[in-house]
Symmetry: C2
Subunit: 367 residues, 2 copies
Amino acid sequence: MRELRVDLGERSYPIRIGEGLLGQAGQELLEAGLSVKSPLLVVSDDSVAPLYLEPLLEQLRSAGFRAASCVVPAGESSKSLARFEEIMTRALEEGLDRKSAIVALGGGVVGDLAGYAAASYMRGIRFVQMPTTILAHDSSVGGKVAVNHPMAKNIIGAFHQPALVLYDLDTLKTLPRREVSAGLAEVVKHGLIRDAAFVDWCVRHADRLLSLDPEALGYALFKGCEVKAAVVSADETEQDLRAILNLGHTIGHALEAVAGYGELLHGEAISIGMIGSALLGVQLGAPQEVYLRTREALGKAGLPVSLPEHFDTDRIMEAMMHDKKFGEGKMVFVVPTAIGEVEIRSDIREQWVRDIVERLKREASWP
Amino acid sequence: MRELRVDLGERSYPIRIGEGLLGQAGQELLEAGLSVKSPLLVVSDDSVAPLYLEPLLEQLRSAGFRAASCVVPAGESSKSLARFEEIMTRALEEGLDRKSAIVALGGGVVGDLAGYAAASYMRGIRFVQMPTTILAHDSSVGGKVAVNHPMAKNIIGAFHQPALVLYDLDTLKTLPRREVSAGLAEVVKHGLIRDAAFVDWCVRHADRLLSLDPEALGYALFKGCEVKAAVVSADETEQDLRAILNLGHTIGHALEAVAGYGELLHGEAISIGMIGSALLGVQLGAPQEVYLRTREALGKAGLPVSLPEHFDTDRIMEAMMHDKKFGEGKMVFVVPTAIGEVEIRSDIREQWVRDIVERLKREASWP
C-alpha cells in the first residue's frame, strides 16, 4: 500500500492507495478519528453500488459503525441541487451529527456531490473519499466540491478537504477501457505540468497502465496525486498557482460544451485541449519536442490527439468566450514552456486560438 | 461612526455602525477592496427593498459599480434551497465573477440566505452585510450562514465571513416596536454571557434603546458585536467556546418549534429561554441576583419573561429531545454562574428542565 499526505495544515489528510482497501474500511475510518457513536452516510451511484456498496456497508457495520446509504443515478446529471437536497434529507433521517462523515463511493460525480453535501450539512462535517475511477484521483486531491447549475458546471460548491481518501485498486478492475484512458489523461497532465521524468515513465509503461497492472497503476495514481497535492498545498483556494492544473481545460471545456451528449469524455476533451496548449506553447517559443512528447504520451494512453472534423470552430470559440465571462473578462491559457513546465498566459489572441482549433482538426485522424 | 474589527486572521473584517452609511456604500465597498470591474448582486426582501433598495443601487452605480438585485419574500420561508438556487441563477445571469460580491440588505433571513449564496457561488465570493434590523447585529458577526431544510433549521450552510458589515442606523427607524425589543434580546444576551457592566448599561438606557436613540443604539450594537466578535475570534467554527452564545437557545428553540406561526419572535423565545437558564443557574448554586437581574434587563427591553400558559410542556420537551439528537446525544445547556459569566453543562437532568418549563408558566404574566 502507498500512502501520501496532502499537506494543508490542520486540514491535512492521507491518501491511501492499494488493493483490498474496501475490505478494511472500518478500521481505516476508526484510525482517521471517526467515532462509531456518530452514523455514516455512504453516497454512491447506480453503476458502482451494485458492485461495492453492500460489501462496504457490511464492512463498516462489522467495525461497529451505523452506516446508511444514498444511491443516485450514474452520470453528470446527478451533480444537481435536487440530488444534493436528497442527500441532506437522508442525512437528517439517519440522524447524522457534527461528528458524522459522508463517504463518497464512486467516481468524480459522486465525489463532487457527496463532498458538497459534507461541506454544507451542519455547516460542514467530515468527508471520506473512496474513488472507483482513475479520473477521480484528480478530484480526490484538493477539496474542490460542487454541483452544477443548468447554466454552468461546478458553479455551486465549496472547498472542503476530505478527512481520508481510500483508493482501492480492486475497484478499478471493472472500468471500461475507454474510461481507463480518459482517466489517464489527468495522470499524464500532472506529469506535463510538473514532472518530466514521470511523463517518460508514463510513455514507457502505458501498456501496463492500460491493462490495469496494480503495481503500475498504484504508482501512477500516487505520482498524479503527489503533483496535485504539491500544487494544492501551495495554493488551496486557487488564487494563482493552482490554475496551472487547468492545462488543456480552456479548450477542453469548450469541446465538452459543444460535443453531443456522450461524444467526448472529460479526459478525452482535455487530451485534445492539451495538444492545443502544446501547439500554442510551440508557437510562443517552446521547442517542437514539447508538442511531440505531449502527443506521444497522450496517444500511448489511448487518448484522442486530434479534433473530429465535424466540430464547429465558431461554436467552440463562442463556448470559450462564455467561459471567459466568468474569469474576469480574460481568456486564460496554461501553456507549456517545456515538458514538466507551464506558465499562465492571459495575452493569447483569439485568432491564435482559432487557428489552433483548425489545426487540431488536421492532426492525424481520431484514434 | 463606530468601527469594530472582527479579528479572524486573514478573514478579519470591519463592522461600521453609524447614521447615513447606505449613502456612502459605494465608497465603503471600494475601500474594502472591491473592484468596479466585477458586478455586484444585492439580495433583499420585499419588506426592506421598497424602502432602501433603489437608493442603494443608485449609490453603488454612482460609485461606478454594476449592481443588480434579487428580492425574495420577507420571512423565514425564504431561507430555502429554492431561493438559494434563484440567487445562483441571478448571479450567473448578471455575470458575477470570482471578484464579485453578494450584498445582503435586510435582516437575519436575508443575511443567512445571501451569505450562503456567497459562500457557494464559484466556491465562495465576497459577501457584504448591510443589516436593517437590531437582531441582525448577532448574525452579522461570526460568518454562520445557512438555509433551512423542511426537517430542520439552518442545517444546510457554511462558515463564510463577510468582507464588510455596514450598519446604517437610519434603516432601523422603520422597525416595529415588537421587533426592536426582539432584537434587543440578543444585545442583552451578549451582556449576560460576558459583560456585567454592559447589562447595567442596558437596564439604565432601556428607554433610549426602545425609542431608537441613535447614540444609545449605536453603542449597544457596538457592544453586542464586540462581545460576539471576541467569542467568535477565539472559536471560529464552534468547537467549544462559541457554544456560550447559545444562552437561552436550548429552551428558546423548543419554544419556537412548538409555538404557532408568528406567535413568538426569535428574540422573544430566547428571552424566555434565558429566564429559564437563569432559574437553572440559581438551582445549580448561582446567587438569586442572577435570576432577578436577567429578568429586569429583559423586562425593561420590553421582552417576555414568562411562558404563556397554553404552551404544552410535553411538546416542548419533545422538541428539545429532537434537537438533542443532533448534538451527539446530549442535552447541552448554557447556564449563568453570575451576571456576565456562563458555563456549558451537559449534565442537566430532564426532570429539572421540565420543572423549569412549568415554573416559567407561573412567572408574572406575559407583558
